[in-house]
Symmetry: D2
Subunit: 351 residues, 4 copies
């Protein structure tokens, strides 16, 4: 009953086997391995973007910070949602990599940026040197509240950004979950909708630790390479990153894994609803936010369920106080895990 985060799960067998295969013999480092050539081809094919620049790094924070920094200047404002991972969960990494650029926060329900808010901010921006200059729009799909931008929503926001000359970044730590749930192609969710650069996540969806940065306009590729090295994110034994990503993209494994996670989350959602829990945000993929009485939380924990109170820790208080929590399903969450949790939940509620 482990629903703490999708990064608490392991890697599927195909990925581990790929690592073992990649371990054989000598291989040039720093991305000059032949596996990387194959990965580059795969990603270009997946995104229908034959010119895209493709790079691998080991963490999502690195992917986001490097992708963004390669598209802004230190005097820029980076527009993102108030609850974006780059704002809340990266300890100022975007500011660090972007030389002290500013994150300017936008509002909107469920972690989805309200186009009106973006439009107003950009309309109010001035090019006087006193002010941070508009620099980039960063979206997150799935959002940090588990909701999902539709392709149309991304396209609308990207169009606003582009009408002010801003490039668009997509934090796709849960890109696979979003794609599967939306039922669209990667191209539709990205460059066809106006996205310029994607953090294409692998870690939360079953890899040991690999994210790709995909830049549809390769003009900044060289800058990215230098920034990656300067950030200490160019891995010497790069074949181990390549191997993971290669397995991930072979035979649609990445989509299968995400489909499994989403299905588990859907099953969990049904269980929560049936038990009378209220859901806080619409489920866009494999994340759920639900509200339960403190007594139910306590009983679930006692039964072995693991998940995060959200936000913060729920200190002591009345048994019937409603408290929110986040539940994340991963590719390795099984029906049995979910059912065990749902049973425990039913007992917790009734008890």
């Amino acid at each position: 009953m482990f629903f703490a985060s999708d990064n608490t799960s392991g890697a599927p067998d195909q990925v581990m086997q790929a690592l073992l295969r990649a371990n054989d013999g000598f291989s040039l480092g720093y991305g000059a391995d032949s596996l990387m050539d194959r990965v580059r081809g795969q990603i270009r094919e997946v995104f229908e973007a034959p010119e895209a620049a493709v790079y691998l790094v080991a963490t999502g924070t690195a992917a986001n910070a490097l992708a963004i920094a390669s598209h802004v200047q230190p005097w820029h404002a980076i527009y993102c949602h108030r609850v974006a991972h780059i704002e809340e969960d990266e300890c100022n990494a975007p500011e660090f990599y972007a030389g002290g650029a500013k994150l300017t926060l936008l509002d909107g329900a469920d972690g989805i940026i309200d186009p009106h808010d973006l439009r107003m901010r950009l309309a109010g921006a001035s090019n006087a040197v006193h002010h941070a200059q508009p620099g980039l729009l960063s979206l997150t799909n799935l959002t940090e509240r588990g909701a999902r931008y539709s392709v149309a929503q991304i396209a609308e926001l990207a169009a606003i950004a582009k009408s002010h000359g801003l490039p668009v970044h997509l934090d796709g730590a849960r890109f696979a979950n979003a794609i599967v749930a939306e039922g669209c192609t990667p191209a539709e969710m990205t460059w066809r909708a106006g996205v310029d650069v994607v953090s294409f996540g692998g870690t939360k969806n079953g890899l040991l630790g690999v994210e790709a940065v995909v830049m549809f306009d390769p003009a900044r590729a060289r800058e990215f390479e230098l920034r990656r090295k300067r950030g200490g994110h160019l891995v010497s034994k790069h074949r181990y990153l390549s191997a993971q990503m290669e397995a991930y993209l072979t035979d649609g494994l990445w989509l299968d894994l995400a489909a499994r996670a989403n299905a588990s989350a859907a099953r969990l959602e049904q269980g929560l609803i049936k038990a009378g829990a209220s859901l806080i945000h619409p489920r866009g993929g494999n994340l759920l936010f639900a509200q339960l009485p403190r007594a139910a939380h306590r009983a679930l924990r006692a039964a072995g369920a693991v998940y995060y109170d959200w936000p913060g820790d729920h200190a002591d208080g009345p048994d019937d106080e409603l408290l929110q929590a986040r539940f994340v399903a991963s590719w390795s969450t099984t029906e049995a895990h979910v059912d065990r949790f749902v049973t425990a939940l039913a007992q917790a509620i009734s008890g």
Copy 2:
């Protein structure tokens, strides 16, 4: 006949098996995995430093840059050898992480800092605000020229640094090779000699990609943790780093691997000498720099040998021009590899 770099080799079976074992089930992320507790204990034991702060990152550049940045200020000068990895091979990562600090370069044969040079520089430093302020001494062992600091040499340099209040960093990307060759303990080469913080390398000695940062005074541990996260170097599925390091430190595997690499380099050295090649620097462990006629290089390459011209590429020129090259043996270099190379070399020279 692959002598390009020790980071072109794979990982030994014990490490791959440890990865497979670690893959099982759910595990808390970001260093809260139980394997990390074990690794912390192992490293403290190996270094006889029960209070040391211990962190893992995935690249040597990250280890160095974070270790150094946690001990200096942006207005500091970081003293290092002219050919140090932090100066020549990290694309300004130390300057980036240290907020624009300056690397001040010292001289000395074979990549070993001349104590006289350090003494003169520090004697000439002024505390006037116009100048970069002395900040930290960084040593590299093995050096980038394959030589080795003795414990006494480290102690002498560290004593000079400390007499001016400077902390001492040791870039130990090839720490294991140095320890084995020097025949001393990790404590002797580090804190007992005055070193405050070590980049304890694993990648070049058989891991997929893990380096530990070991801080003997844990006072800056919290700062390190925040810098690591801000740099995008806190790995979410941390167990995969822990597992590698745990296997590395179990039953002295790390020392065995280094001993193998050093032995291969010694065998190669004999072959080179026998063939009449001149060695450029004294061999401290598993790196060799040798000089051969262009014709011999050409014949070796034709026979399938892989290694780096050093420095730069050797463009066309007369057959008998003497050109330098670097040869690196790794844990996976076999006697057969070496012997095949030596045979090819004999033919190249005689041919």
Copy 3:
């Protein structure tokens, strides 16, 4: 009828004469001039802070950015009002100087931070490494909306900050105007209320370009000096800064100048009210924000009045649309200026 900004005014005769006097002969540079000794003493006396560290710089942005950077780390959040000068008008200078720290924006009427908002933010802050760590509270008095924090309000906010271990910075670009209007001492508005470091403005109140940074705890003085030099803000012919500040502080000139500006603003306020304009924010000193019909703005401009539409430019539109504007009185604003404006306003309204 020049109400654009208090930085559009010149300097009073006493300051210019001091400059001429200071110009005589040779003088050691970089703050080693004897005038600076006198200034240091004056400021310590004015603030009743005999241990305070005192430094001069030429711009308000430098004063703020250096003062703040000397008290935070790059992974920190700097709490300030949404309309603070450091957020809106310094082109990311605070982020630059603080190595990529984040400005976290608070709300509250009239540019005054709501203590409840601060309390909630700090209560919600976590010390997990994923998040920006609470770093510093920065207040602005007078606020950017012309309102004034009372001593009690400053003390309340500072107490909240300090209960979480945060230092407090006061952006006092219009400190003199606030002091005069509040009728308190500099000590009461600063260290006695819990402020640790002040940007003590001179430029907006009659100097050519000098701001003092006053640190009540001199522990970070050395760091400030190095940051100032590294920022290019250590002036070689420092005597010209010292001379201005010395004249400013002699015989209470600084208070007289501010009193004049405040009185002119009060007179202007009366005129505006009498003419039926609505005031947007309570007047705390020498700034006014008022609302007038577009037609009145147009007539005033035609009559030669200079002031800023606020916010942004007021494009064409209906004559009777109410539009906001900012009016700033300076030490050199005369009764005649104000009266001429008020007359023009009466005509504009009636016309």
Copy 4:
């Protein structure tokens, strides 16, 4: 007998009068003053560069750091002489402004870069991402050792830089002294010789504190403006900078001042030679480095002479030990000052 530095002198009457004139009335801030329009025109005329972008800042360190940062990236190497002001006397300001770029030091007698050294460094540079990438060449004229690059020397170095695609910066803190001594035009010493951007000094040559940055290709003008503001170097009451520079450039005042300083230095040089002192570097303008016995230094100081031991302080030692010192003449150094010093020197030597 004040020969400590040219920044210890005051400003000539023309400059002070210009300040007084500029003080009258209201004036728009931040460079929008009408005086700045005039200054821009003057500088373009002086440099025969009608398209040049021209900006004023208050310190030489700001001018250098901003000028350089506007032409490099954080992963760049900035080539300069080992004793350049940007390396030795700006407390890492260039590194700070350039986001952590690296200063790579070149050798050459008298502070003049040896073209061979530059050529070898650039020939040895690699475009592999591991290394700092060649970014910019920065020259200093007069050099920090008082020597002077000829126009031909500048052109030779600039040509080498440009053959590798590098822009060229000229630190002209003593540009006027160099121009007057070289007997060439500003255009000849700068853009006609391949210089892209100049720090055109005023402070050391008689201003209170103003340096111009002149960019012959205005393509980076906008970036410079934003960097200047972000660095806190955009002065609000900008008219006071403009007024100084306007007076400086009117009727060739700047050249007259430099000619006076150079003449005083020449007179001093004669006196030193006559007294038997050895000169360390060829005199290029208004700086001298000479060697005298300790006893002579002591006697001169006792007689009231002020100048810097160079390098460092000369601690106690034998009377006849030869010690170096730096002597700087400024526009305000008079023949009487020099003669008084020469007399004292004769007595010191004979005594």
